[in-house]
């Protein structure tokens, strides 16, 4: 989270993208110059199933305001079934976050194929504005992590 000089809230968004579909989709968004806010920072993982729910909790703990996980469309996973595992794991995590009282709009799973550059940027625009609406993540932040 960051508040700039105009008092505008600039969220920190972590996006986990699978190497085969969504990361390529993000590249396509770039090469077709489909812009989305600079608040989004992408971490490349081989498959959405590599994303441990712990990573998402860690991001929130370290001050992220939103986390989005992007994978191949169901049935298109490079590793056949990885995104199904990701989907189930995230469903469990979302249930837990909900229980903890974290707004469910702060986390999201999206399927973006390598051909969906426009969808990638639209998704990111939408997600960032949704997170902006919510304001900074204060509940899960571990204040000890901040100097």
């Amino acid at each position: 989270m960051q508040i700039n000089e105009n008092g505008e809230f600039r969220p920190t968004i972590v996006a986990f993208c699978c190497n085969w579909c969504s990361y390529a989709g993000a590249d396509l968004a770039g090469s077709s110059r489909a812009s989305y806010p600079a608040d989004v920072k992408i971490i490349r993982v081989p498959c959405s199933c590599r994303v441990n729910p712990m990573f998402i909790l860690r991001a929130f703990e370290r001050g992220a305001d939103g986390v989005i996980l992007c994978g191949c469309h169901p049935g298109d996973c490079h590793y056949s079934t990885g995104n199904y595992y990701a989907r189930r794991r995230m469903t469990m995590l979302f249930g837990m976050l909900d229980y903890l009282g974290i707004e469910k709009e702060r986390t999201r799973v999206e399927w973006v194929s390598a051909a969906e550059g426009a969808k990638f940027s639209a998704t990111m625009n939408e997600f960032v504005s949704a997170v902006k609406e919510l304001g900074p993540n204060r509940k899960l932040r571990d204040l000890r992590c901040k100097n």
């Binding site: 920190t12 090469s31 812009s35 600079a38 992408i42 081989p46 199933c49 370290r62 490079h78």
Partner: protein, 667 residues
């Protein structure tokens, strides 16, 4: 735990002309990243990927004794491989390279210089944080057994085997029936050229059997598959034929003398009967009979044995048993083919009630010169010449209910046009009506073929579906269907009804998929590695797909796919060693509890368990531990998250590395 030495990291920020430098202050990025932990060198240059740019990197590595490099440039999908080679040339481990994507994911999508620069710094910082935890990875090597296995001896399997053998590799075909040839051997003519199926198939069957690189295992099934790409071990069950194949001459005297002649002939779709000792058809390969134990009087009563007395070379061996052959292969091709679905659930079409309602494959046998009627078109019920015929399309295809398949079977439109045309050509007195929902004829010369059936041969195409078929008292059939274009309900009296039956993958594919750890979809078709870009490979390395086992297709497509699968196999077998992707899962022995969760989620069957002695802080004991086969693991990481004890980690994308990236971004 492995301890990382202190890294000495070099950061190289690329301008990419103005592509990056236009919206990112590259000098500032380089300057700022210099302060990151581990960074000892940082610079920027116009084109890092150019010869000169690569030289800068190489020199910096040598001059500063760098242990790893971060390149802030375009997408790693573009130049990661380039920079890995550069690093390797300068003596670094290629996996000590990280790319910060500051072009596609930064400069190209942001317009504000300040914003872009800030994000580029964060991306660079994240790459440095990850690189600090990188360890040199060494790609493993595995030898390749230079022999291929083709499962299924239809046109797909035969063509694949011929192409592999052509390239000089040994190849075995396993066919569960008594002869190779598959469904194509049962066909009469083939669309769209109407050449006879036997005339183009049987020479290929002969080629396959005569080729000294090809070994045929007919009447055999795959019992077990173990191993991985390049090193499969397969158990093949040679079912007992009760014939000594080494001495049998295929004279066929036994089949003529056999007194048990009441078994429905599978090859003729049950339209006639065969003897208990039989050769499926005249051109069968191998041309050797086998005994059907369930029909044979000797096996049922212990009395007969006429064949044994008839045989001049004493080839009959009632004592024969199944034999298991174990062989090693480098690659496996699945070519298990298809079957028409059972239509007995479609009561509205009277298939089970009237012999004059036949499936298209049955009609193929009726029309075939070598078939039960010697190619004469007759009504099965009374062997009279028909004057009216009705074809019903999409029987069991494109439906939603449990008796139907959700997909289009693809070949039916064309073979129905073929049947209609052949009948009108041979018997102009027969009226042919085709009820269709859509006529789908994409393919070279396909639509022209269908139009010819309508325009030249006068086949009556009716847009609509048949609702009901009933038997009249005069023995003919009454077809009630709709003509949607005329908005009428039609009642047609006809002699025969032909159902264009949907096709489904052969039953055996389910067990096979489990053995091969190849995945099948909800319709039991084998899944390809990528729907567009890798259509003949299974997601499991070393397993390839050929023919209808992957999805409905006609003969030209099957042959094309068979050739494509063969070329993939050849590409694999001509390598002496396989270099594995080193970014694979690895289990930490002291943390592993042997719970099997990782093995259950692994889509490749790469994880096995081993009883192993460990030294856990001075305590020596034997534990059940997960072992990842790095040659089979594709590095998806599903196991790493599933592992409840945190023992499983993915090299190159380790938990610590990803956490470090998260931390760097959220700092």
């Amino acid at each position: 735990m492995e301890v990382n030495e202190l890294q000495k990291i070099g950061v190289f920020v690329c301008w990419c002309g103005s592509n990056i430098a236009g919206t990112v202050d590259v000098a500032k990025v380089a300057e700022t990243l210099k302060n990151e932990p581990g960074v000892v060198f940082s610079t920027d240059y116009q084109y890092m990927c150019s010869e000169a740019g690569q030289l800068i990197i190489k020199n910096a590595i040598k001059d500063n004794g760098l242990t790893g490099i971060v390149v802030c440039s375009c997408s790693p999908r573009m130049h990661e491989a380039t920079f890995r080679k550069t690093a390797e040339a300068a003596g670094l481990n290629p996996y000590m390279v990280e790319i910060a994507n500051v072009r596609e994911q930064c400069s190209w999508i942001h317009k504000d210089m300040e914003e872009g620069t800030e994000k580029a710094i964060i991306l660079g910082r994240s790459a440095v944080a990850k690189l600090n935890l990188n360890t040199p990875l060494i790609a493993g090597e595995n030898p390749v057994t230079k022999r291929a296995l083709v499962i299924g001896g239809g046109i797909a399997g035969i063509q694949t085997a011929l192409d592999i053998a052509d390239a000089g590799f040994e190849v075995d075909i396993v066919e569960k029936k008594q002869t190779i040839g598959g469904k194509m051997a049962q066909l009469d003519k083939t669309f769209p050229t109407l050449d006879c199926a036997a005339c183009i198939l049987t020479p290929k069957m002969v080629d396959a059997s005569a080729n000294d690189k090809i070994t045929l295992y007919t009447y055999s099934e795959v019992d077990n598959v173990s191993g991985f790409v390049g090193n499969f071990t397969v158990d093949i069950r040679k079912k007992a034929r009760y014939i000594n194949t080494d001495v049998c001459t295929g004279c066929g005297a036994c089949t003529e003398k056999c007194p048990s002649r009441k078994t429905p002939n599978e090859f003729n779709m049950g339209l006639d009967t065969r003897s208990a000792i039989f050769i499926p058809f005249a051109q069968a390969i191998p041309n050797i009979p086998s005994i059907d134990k369930n029909a044979c009087l000797h096996f049922k009563t212990g009395k007969c044995g006429i064949c044994q007395k008839t045989c001049g070379v004493n080839a009959i061996d009632f004592e024969q048993e199944d034999e298991i052959v174990t062989r090693e292969y480098g690659a496996i091709v699945a070519a298990t083919g298809f079957n028409p679905i059972k239509v007995d659930k479609f009561d509205e079409f009277q298939y089970s009630q009237s012999p004059d309602v036949v499936t298209s494959l049955e009609l193929e046998r009726i029309m075939n010169a070598a078939g039960p009627t010697k190619g004469k078109l007759v009504r099965p019920s009374d062997h009279k010449h028909p004057t009216d015929m009705v074809f019903i399309q999409c029987v069991g295809s494109r439906g939603e209910s449990c008796r139907e398949k959700g997909y289009c079977s693809k070949i039916c439109c064309m073979y129905t046009a073929k049947h209609a045309m052949l009948i009108r050509d041979k018997y102009p007195d027969v009226n042919v009506h085709v009820f269709y929902i859509d006529v789908r004829t994409p393919g070279k010369n396909f639509d022209e073929f269908y139009r010819r059936a309508v325009e030249e041969y006068g086949v009556d195409y009716i847009k609509g579906m048949v609702g009901k078929v009933s038997t009249r008292s005069n023995g003919r059939l009454l077809v009630q269907g709709s003509d949607l274009l005329a908005n009428e309900q039609l009642l047609l009296e006809t002699d025969m009804v032909v159902l264009a039956t949907a096709i489904e993958p052969d039953e055996s594919v389910k067990d096979l998929a489990t053995m091969l750890t190849a995945s099948i979809d909800t319709n039991n078709f084998l899944t390809e590695a990528h729907a567009k870009l890798r259509p003949v490979e299974s997601p499991t390395a070393g397993v390839f797909l050929s023919g209808v086992c992957q999805g409905p297709k006609d003969i030209p497509e099957t042959v094309a796919q068979a050739g494509a699968a063969a070329s993939k196999v050849i590409g694999l077998l001509c390598k002496d060693k396989l270099i594995a992707n080193p970014c694979v899962a690895k289990s930490e022995e002291l943390l592993c509890s042997g719970c099997s969760v990782c093995a259950n989620v692994c889509p490749y069957g790469a994880i096995t368990y081993e009883e192993k002695e460990v030294n856990d802080h001075g305590v020596r004991e034997t534990r059940r531990l997960a072992q990842v086969n790095s040659a089979v693991c594709q590095g998806c990481g599903a196991c790493t998250v599933a592992c409840p004890s945190g023992a499983m980690d993915l090299q190159g994308f380790s938990t610590r590395q990803i956490m470090a990236e998260v931390d760097a971004i959220c700092k």
